[in-house]
């Protein structure tokens, strides 16, 4: 009969392998152009999520029954060079943080998968949606259960790519595509910051393994054996990564843009899971936060500022999904502040509650007007107009300023564009012009044939 460790091992393996298997099946069918029916895709998806969820629940029950708070499961080195201490280990940990988050992620993904079956029925991109969805499920499961910083990064990247491509799901229109590009750009910067943080952690502490890193204690009681300064350096990089992933200030601009995607992906990714991944990272590296009070202050400050901005902006949005996006930001900001204050369990419970609520709200968003009608019919009168009493106390000039500030989304996109993107473009466009002058001079004639190229040469009448 299988012993307890064997059960943990096999359950853990299935939890991670099921979503990866789904990616493999859907990816292979796309590669070899083997069309799968909607029913097949839907059944495969539901089976994979269920196959992952049930063993995760099994592990939770076993942990409760046996009183074990920390179950590491190793699948060995994926790649290693022992001579230089380079290891990429597939290690997953099941503890009080990862198990609830993984179960939450799988439950919400399952619900949304089921919802999407009808929502995208006969849509042209049905298969594409589920391929990206499977990438997301694999990414979020790997991230949630990651036992090493490299494994977490692996999942983190999968989540980023699938999120950006799902924002651009309606890719025959320009706007969703532009927004997808923006989300991806912010994610790439967040990823770079994450990778630098991970490398710094390796170099300063010699550890990439969360289990070794937090010493003897299990989450959230571990403590990192590093100096306050080192903790501040690593922590700030992780905080920047978390800010990008969770749309905290000053990266909040991508969150409402992400709502361009189909409602199911908005609900599960930007409303409930993706947006919490930054907070999850901070929870996972909580020993680093505790090693530096300056870092804790930075986390609290960033969380509160984001919450304040989110609150202002959510009140003045003109569409329900944007309003919900900023409402999410408010809650994520509060969660981050809670983490900064050291209320880890509270933050975890807050994440779970908020994720469920926001998924429900976003899934209901397309039928909001219909819901209001039903409610008004039921009560036989108009719904009462909610007025903020505090707002009445503010002078009209200030109210207008706040309104405009909120409506313009805190000018954050504008600031990022004019302070970072535009100078970047100007510098490289200038360099491009200089290169043109140089090659023109060497050629003694205009050197760029590409200047004469017109857009849309693929138009029907030109295709040869």
């Amino acid at each position: 009969m299988m012993d307890l460790d064997g059960m943990f091992y096999w359950f853990g393996l299935v939890v991670v392998a099921a979503p990866c298997g789904l990616v493999a099946v859907l990816g292979f069918s796309a590669l070899v152009n083997l069309p799968l029916s909607e029913t097949t895709i839907s059944r495969l998806t539901q089976s994979a999520v269920l196959m992952s969820l049930l063993p995760a629940i099994g592990i939770l029950l076993l942990m409760i029954a046996t009183g074990r708070r920390y179950v590491p499961i190793e699948f060995g080195d994926w790649a290693s060079i022992p001579e230089v201490h380079f290891h990429f280990r597939w290690k997953f940990i099941f503890d009080r943080l990862s198990v609830p988050f993984a179960i939450l992620a799988l439950v919400l993904c399952g619900v949304v998968g089921s919802f999407t079956r009808r929502y995208l029925h006969r849509e042209e991109g049905y298969h594409r949606f589920f391929l990206l969805y499977s990438l997301f499920v694999a990414g979020i499961t790997i991230s949630a259960l990651a036992g090493t910083i490299e494994t977490l990064f692996f999942g983190w990247e999968l989540v980023g790519l699938s999120s950006a491509l799902l924002v651009a799901y309606f890719h025959e229109r320009e706007h969703p595509v532009r927004n997808g590009q923006r989300v991806w750009s912010v994610y790439r910067l967040a990823d770079a910051s994450f990778l630098l943080g991970a490398l710094l952690m390796h170099h300063l502490t010699g550890e990439g393994d969360f289990g070794s890193f937090v010493g003897q204690g299990t989450w959230p009681d571990g403590s990192a054996a590093i100096s306050s300064l080192n903790a501040l350096q690593i922590g700030l990089l992780f905080l920047l990564a978390a800010a990008g992933k969770s749309a905290l200030v000053p990266f909040s601009g991508w969150l409402p843009r992400a709502m361009e995607g189909p409602t199911p992906s908005s609900a599960v990714f930007y409303g409930s899971l993706s947006v919490h991944l930054g907070a999850y990272l901070l929870l996972r590296v909580n020993p680093i936060l505790e090693a530096s009070w300056q870092l804790q202050i930075a986390v609290v400050a960033l969380g509160l500022i984001s919450a304040l901005f989110g609150s202002i902006m959510s009140r003045v949005q003109s569409d329900v999904k944007s309003s919900l996006a900023y409402a999410s930001l408010t809650q994520v900001g509060i969660i981050v502040a809670e983490i900064g204050f050291g209320f880890y369990y509270l933050a975890l419970i807050h994440i779970m509650g908020h994720a469920c609520l926001r998924t429900l709200q976003l899934l209901r968003a397309p039928t909001l007007l219909s819901d209001y009608h039903e409610m008004e019919n039921a009560i036989g009168m108009r719904l009462p107009d909610s007025k903020d009493r505090m707002a009445g106390l503010l002078p009209i000039g200030l109210k207008r300023w706040w309104y405009r500030f909120g409506y313009e989304r805190g000018y954050m996109d504008l600031i990022l564009d004019s302070w970072i993107v535009e100078p970047f473009k100007l510098v490289f466009q200038w360099a491009d012009r200089q290169e043109r002058r140089w090659t023109d001079w060497l050629s003694r004639e205009p050197s760029r044939e590409s200047d004469a190229i017109e857009p849309h040469r693929e138009s029907a009448e030109r295709v040869a």
Binding site: L31, A79, F88, L161, L196, S450, S459
Partner: protein, 479 residues
């Protein structure tokens, strides 16, 4: 005594495309020429693969061919394979096969198969060669086919001629000085500096990179791609510069390469045409390979060798996809959206896959390679090394930017099918298997490249300690 392969793989893999080139030139007919080229490239690839397998079985650092005809004639090991070049030969042969395979018949008139096969022969000979006059000659000879093509197409060759002329001149002067100045520290340093300048010029390192974009503007996409994607410049650095340059000089080259990597990734983001965009992306990745090579640490070197393979595979796939799109709709502007996904979903998926593989995305062949490279760079320069991460992030943004511009944003109507042809599908499938397979099972390639890095480092130490010693390939073979 140097071990011997069990079969003359090297000579056969070099001779096959050389003879194929003559055959194709003699046939003349485009359709037959392409079919024959595919057969010849496939045979050359099989020989190159045979060489790699045979060499792996020998478990030696280096080996020469069975029945080495040239060694018999000249008493010198000219074509020698070692840990560095063993996987590069099949990679080079694969790049040519995939390019020839994915050439549309409508474009066969512009792209010369005979010259492509001649270039392949030169490339495989170059990769089988270590520092010697033969290598210098082959590096110079390789610059001729693109020049001839540009002349034949009536394009201005001044930029290319000036740069490649300078490259050839520096290479000849540098190697002559090296040969003459054995034992003299001053001459040794000068020859090292001149050879470094030559190889950096060939690698397209800033500010000597403008010829690369000019080549992509004026030559056919296939020819330009074949000239740059095998990273011959990096090979020249490994053979001519690494054994003789002091550490500080190599670190200087690494910093210049790092700057080029960031510069090229920034330039890729502002390009408005797909060829130029591809060229800068290639330059950025090639510079990252050079960064790792010049770090001279086992982990950095191993990372660079792994990135070399991943960049070779992924950017070949990326370039082939762009070329196939260009063959259908003409030069691709990135100023606006084209929305081609609906008409070519397979190309779209492959474009994304290869682009992401080039930046080291998880699950692709480049992931662990890039991790190793970044780790190696940060180990040597904790702050400057972080720039590798920035370059990679910018490349990632550029790749998705191009993907969105080419495949999304509109819904165009095409009256004919733009789908991938059978031969293109074969290319796509082949490269996908290698990119994803290498990503899922990275262990063997990492171990092999790390071993190569250790051996290269050891040989470099040996050549440093023996101040006046000749380069390894100059050792006269015992009769």
């Amino acid at each position: 005594m140097m071990p011997e392969l069990h079969f003359p793989w090297l000579e056969y893999s070099i001779l096959t495309p050389a003879l194929g080139s003559i055959l194709v030139w003699w046939i003349g007919d485009r359709r037959s020429a392409q079919n024959w080229s595919i057969v010849v490239c496939a045979i050359a690839l099989l020989f190159a693969l045979g060489e790699w397998v045979d060499f792996s079985v020998l478990e030696s650092y280096e080996a020469h061919d069975h029945w080495d005809f040239i060694a018999f004639l000249f008493k010198q090991d000219v074509f020698v394979i070692d840990e560095l070049s063993a996987p590069l030969l099949p990679l080079g042969a694969l790049i040519y096969l995939v390019t020839v395979l994915s050439t549309l018949r409508t474009k066969a008139g512009r792209f010369s198969f005979a010259w492509a096969l001649a270039s392949e022969s030169i490339l495989l000979a170059t990769l089988s060669c270590r520092a010697s006059w033969v290598l210098v000659g082959l590096l110079i000879a390789a610059t001729i086919p693109p020049w001839i093509e540009m002349r034949r197409r009536g394009r201005c060759t001044r930029v290319y001629t000036i740069h490649m002329g300078l490259f050839s001149g520096l290479l000849l002067i540098g190697y002559s000085m090296f040969q003459l100045g054995r034992g003299s520290e001053t001459l040794g340093l000068m020859s090292g500096a001149i050879l470094s300048a030559a190889t950096l010029l060939r690698s397209g390192i800033f500010p000597f990179h403008c010829w690369t974009t000019d080549l992509f503007e004026k030559a056919t996409f296939g020819t330009a791609m074949l000239f740059l994607t095998p990273l011959t410049g990096a090979y020249a650095v490994m053979r001519l510069v690494l054994p003789i340059a002091p550490d500080w000089a190599l670190h200087m080259i690494a910093i210049v390469s790092l700057f080029t990597a960031v510069y090229a990734s920034g330039m890729a983001l502002v390009q408005t045409e797909a060829r130029r965009f591809f060229c800068y992306l290639l330059l950025s990745n090639a510079s990252l390979v050079l960064v790792g090579l010049e770090l001279v640490t086992p982990i950095g070197l191993a990372g660079a060798l792994c990135v070399w393979l991943s960049v070779g595979l992924s950017l070949t796939g990326f370039g082939v996809t762009l070329r196939s799109i260009e063959s259908r709709i003409g030069r691709v502007s990135l100023n606006d959206y084209h929305g081609l996904y609906q008409h070519m979903p397979r190309f779209a998926g492959f474009f994304l896959l290869t682009g992401l593989a080039s930046i080291g995305f998880p699950g692709t062949i480049g992931f662990i390679a890039m991790e190793l490279l970044v780790e190696g760079a940060v180990e040597v320069y904790p702050l400057i090394g972080s720039v590798v991460v920035i370059a990679s992030a910018l490349n990632g943004i550029a790749v998705l930017h191009a993907y969105f511009r080419i495949f999304t944003g509109r819904r165009p109507i095409a009256q004919i099918s733009l789908q991938a042809r059978f031969s293109e599908r074969i290319s796509i499938l082949l490269l996908t298997v290698l990119i994803v397979g290498g990503g899922l099972v990275p262990g063997p390639s990492i171990a092999s490249r790390y071993h190569a890095a250790i051996e290269l480092g050891r040989h470099r130490e040996v050549s440093e300690s023996q101040d006046s010693s000749p380069l390894p390939s100059d050792v006269i073979k015992q009769p």
